[in-house]
């Protein structure tokens, strides 16, 4: 089944999800075509020419920065010309801006945050989670010859090995961008770099109140850990951005990640699931964090914290 993968890149770097999408495409049997949309697509062709890629389609556009209208027009045209069975994009902020629009405009099948996909009886079946990742669902796409899937990063191992894809240039349709890149603002640097810490004590919504934060700062210090947190504490202004673990924060890989009161939203897990040892304390026995933790305790995090204070 022919599969179209759209390469993602940012500021001159190919994003790792691209090679994962190629693995997903290969698992569907191929042939696999990879579209590279860039000011100078040749800068990325070597990187995506990995084993299993049959064809690389280079599409030269005016600028490197991602813009919804440009990507939508190019990929829309490729779909119309080539009628792929599946179009694989990363479940990323960029794809969120145009993937669903493609499906709406051309009447295609659609699902996002997909972590498994296969062919069954001539049709595609995709898996994704629902209800705080406590439930999985199998989706089918009756009546659709082409399905757009936004694939959860790190669900497939990156494709590797030298490839022998043909490379052909495709003309970009003319398009006027209605949402234009102006500038970059770097993520705020913090007083500490949590990505280099070997031991992170990470707190989440479970701590309840801003006043409770100090207790965990002290606990982290006495345990020799660096304090980090999940997104809600940053949104509330209790913790600085630089201490946030997760997709929109930092990806961390400490030796030990001790999660207190973190339920484990998908976006958080994406930032810490490769930590050496994950220990999770949560009062909800069904919290998704337990699916990735090596050690877990269903307990009141304040009671556990008090006991830890006695030991350190």
């Amino acid at each position: 089944m022919s599969v179209l993968v759209v390469a993602e890149h940012i500021r001159g770097e190919l994003r790792p999800v691209t090679l994962e999408l190629i693995s997903a495409a290969k698992s569907l049997g191929g042939p696999v075509a990879v579209a590279v949309i860039a000011k100078d697509p040749s800068a990325f062709t070597d990187a995506v020419n990995v084993e299993g890629v049959d064809e690389i389609l280079t599409v030269q556009v005016d600028q490197d920065e991602f813009e919804n209208d440009v990507y939508q027009a190019v990929v829309g045209q490729l779909i119309a010309d080539r009628r792929p069975r599946a179009v694989l994009l990363g479940f990323t902020v960029g794809s969120m801006g145009y993937g669903p629009a493609l499906a709406a405009k051309h009447g295609l099948g659609f699902a996002s945050d997909v972590f498994a996909v296969r062919e069954e009886n001539g049709g595609l079946v995709a898996e994704r989670s629902f209800y705080g990742a406590k439930v999985n669902g199998e989706l089918e796409f009756p009546g659709h010859d082409t399905v757009v899937l936004l694939v959860r990063p790190t669900s497939w191992a990156p494709a590797e090995g030298a490839g022998s894809a043909s490379v052909s240039a495709v003309d970009a349709p003319s398009v006027t961008s209605r949402a234009r890149h102006q500038d970059w603002v770097e993520a705020q640097a913090g007083d500490v770099d949590i990505t280099t810490a070997e031991f992170l004590l990470s707190v989440g919504r479970g701590i309840g109140d801003k006043e409770n934060l100090e207790q965990f700062e002290e606990l982290a210090e006495s345990m020799g850990a660096t304090l980090s947190s999940s997104r809600p504490l940053v949104d509330a202004g209790w913790m600085p951005n630089a201490r946030q673990v997760g997709q929109s924060g930092k990806t961390v890989k400490p030796k030990v990640y001790l999660a207190l009161g973190i339920s484990g939203a998908v976006q958080h897990l994406a930032g810490m699931k490769t930590a050496g040892t994950i220990i999770a304390v949560n009062n909800d026995p069904e919290a998704a964090i337990f699916n990735v933790a090596h050690y877990g305790a269903v307990a009141d995090l304040f009671e556990v914290a008090e006991e830890l204070e006695k030991l350190y």
């Binding site: 969120m96 669903p100 945050d113 406590k134 089918e140 993520a187 930092k250 069904e286 050690y295 830890l308």
Partner: protein
């Protein structure tokens, strides 16, 4: 300044789950319902823009059955001026593209200056409805907005990328923007406001032709537990002791 804000009543599971007889969804008895967290930020942003403009209207729009009016009342209690609810039975468990089709008809008729939606809903996490809606309305859109400043004929927005990098984008108006958590501090609705919201108008509409669904849930199930975590018991003192031992051992390596 007329702003349409799309809101959704979301369901959250506790520690037990049962499925409907056809296994295509969770039995509603096992869900607790609330206004989607992202949509409370979108609503707050709409109210802020209306109030700064000094005049105008915030219309809260939802796709949902009568019970879903609770979430809409919450948006009205925060300060939205009126509500529109779209429903027909074929929208039960609908995919985000279909939901966008139902929303688009109403938004088109309202002809707003700006449309806001949450980035995603906490129960389905497709992060798709806003961008699909924009396409159906032929409007520009930006997904995952963490800052919003109106200009004349355009808006300057921050688009939050992975890793916290921000793409500063100039977008032509009217536009559809999906709002990320943390962009503002959603106000609490006072008891008085909640009471007043009960009096606000909610217009109920039926959708037109919704087209072919973009997907259909074949079945839902509890994911098989992998290796799973080794559980350390429930006694806080014993748990703390074990955590200390594990940390000491792992930090040595």
């Amino acid at each position: 300044m007329k702003i349409v804000v799309c809101v959704k009543q979301v369901g959250a599971l506790g520690d037990e789950v049962e499925f409907t007889d056809d296994e295509r969804d969770v039995d509603p008895d096992y869900l607790d319902y609330a206004l989607n967290e992202w949509d409370s930020y979108a609503t707050e942003e709409a109210l802020r823009l209306r109030d700064e403009a000094g005049d105008g209207e915030v219309v809260a729009l939802t796709v949902g059955d009568e019970d879903a009016e609770d979430a809409m009342r919450r948006a009205l209690a925060m300060g939205a001026d009126r509500g529109v609810r779209v429903w027909s039975d074929e929208l039960a468990g609908a995919d985000p593209i279909t939901v966008a089709r139902a929303l688009a008809e109403v938004v088109r008729a309202e002809s707003p200056d700006l449309v806001l939606a949450g980035v995603q809903s906490s129960d389905a996490v497709q992060a798709a409805t806003g961008a699909a809606l924009a396409e159906l309305l032929d409007l520009p859109r930006v997904a995952v907005v963490t800052k919003l400043e109106l200009g004349s004929g355009t808006a300057k927005v921050h688009r939050e990328l992975e890793g916290g990098l921000v793409d500063v984008v100039e977008v032509d108006m009217p536009a559809v923007l999906t709002i990320q958590t943390g962009i503002n501090e959603p106000r609490y609705a006072t008891l008085r406001a909640i009471k007043q919201a009960e009096q606000k108008e909610i217009d109920v509409r039926e959708p037109g032709d919704l087209g072919t669904p973009a997907s259909r849930v074949r079945r839902m199930f509890v994911p098989p537990k992998g290796e799973g975590a080794e559980m350390l018991g429930e006694d806080p003192a014993a748990v703390a002791q074990r955590i200390k031992e594990i940390v000491e051992e792992r930090m040595k390596s």
